[in-house]
Subunit: 224 residues, 2 copies
């Protein structure tokens, strides 16, 4: 296995992150590269979900992955085993990525020959939600053991996401987690949210999620 | 049930948080009040652990609880059912509490007649670890479903904590979680860390944790 490339990304100097994010999205459009920003708490199964997603889509799209972490390259090493292009971004203690940091990562990854780039954001339900990374779509994972009350407690992230993946449904019998309630609470925050219950461990529900993503990427990279 | 008091805490104006934290600790010493700062990811079982802890200790100590949240008062309502004095702190979107915000909360709670105050910090493994709240001791909860690699990925919080509570050991059979490995990784970050595996749901292991806390509180409030 090749050594993982680790990039230290620096907080960007731009005053207006929203403007930078819009500029980056325009650049992505121009390059015909779809950027997905994937957010969640630590331990919700981001990396395993990502590996399943890559397996489903890697024969259709040229995929790249940016693993953002405070420190460590545990995840990037796992992703590298799927054979897609991946780099590790270190935020130097920062709890989020802004658009400038995301673009530094994309420049290092090289997006010219990639159809789909997935950014695995820092594990955190608060700060990453506050910064537009420039991604085309935002997805979040909430896992069953975390509890169905999370849309009440972390409203912003449910508001800014296009997709809510509910992971670890294979352990539903062992937790007091009400799937209908979490859907109701999440849709209260964001009526347009697409919700996909999955088990990244068993593969259940993955194809509904990857069908959605396939369509989104196709629309983006094939648009006139 | 009384209505929950909700306090909006503002980011403090102090330049030097460490100095403010040391000043607050000295004030706590003077008042003979022990402040425990409890941190974790969202959904690790902080509130349930706290309720078990209160049940074990409420006949020995006068206990108060401050529930910090971005928004919502779900947790404070649960805590109020235990009969201890509790307030909800809203951080207005901020991902952590500093010493000044903690002191605003303590002033509202009123610490004169309390032996033990527990601050349930915002659910997050990153930002809360960066700010000394002025607490006498810091504890964190990591739950089994989050995975045993967390000390590798979120090093700082393991470094600043005195105690690591490993919660949800009742679901160990359903997860690939290596209890020995997480202990090894966590002690690598902090050789002095006390580690208590528990199930807040079944009560297993709770008494070892509350024995430790009872001794700490006793030492603090009875010292000359």
């Amino acid at each position: 296995m090749d050594k993982i490339r680790i990039i230290e990304v620096k907080e960007s100097i731009f005053e207006d992150n929203n403007r930078e994010a819009a500029r980056l999205r325009a650049r992505l459009k121009n390059e015909r590269t779809f950027l997905l920003n994937l957010m969640s708490s630590p331990g919700s199964g981001k990396t395993t979900t990502l590996m399943r997603t890559i397996e489903e889509l890697k024969h259709e799209f040229r995929i790249g992955v940016m693993e953002a972490d405070i420190d460590s390259s545990v995840d990037a090493e796992k992703i590298a085993t799927t054979g897609v292009k991946s780099i590790q971004l270190h935020t130097g203690g920062m709890c989020h990525l802004d658009a400038g940091m995301t673009e530094q990562g994309l420049n290092e990854l090289g997006m010219e020959n990639l159809d789909l780039v997935i950014l695995e954001n820092v594990g955190n339900l608060v700060c990453p939600a506050e910064f537009d990374t420039g991604a085309v779509k935002n997805a979040m994972i909430l896992s069953v053991p975390e509890g169905h009350d999370k849309p009440l407690k972390y409203p912003l992230i449910f508001t800014v996401c296009d997709v809510l993946i509910i992971n670890k449904i294979d352990v539903l019998p062992y937790f007091d987690f009400d799937l209908e309630k979490v859907k109701e609470y999440a849709l209260m925050r964001n009526p347009n949210l697409k919700i996909f219950p999955i088990s990244a461990k068993t593969g259940e529900g993955i194809s509904a999620w990857t069908d959605w993503l396939r369509n989104q990427v196709g629309d983006w990279i094939n648009a006139d």
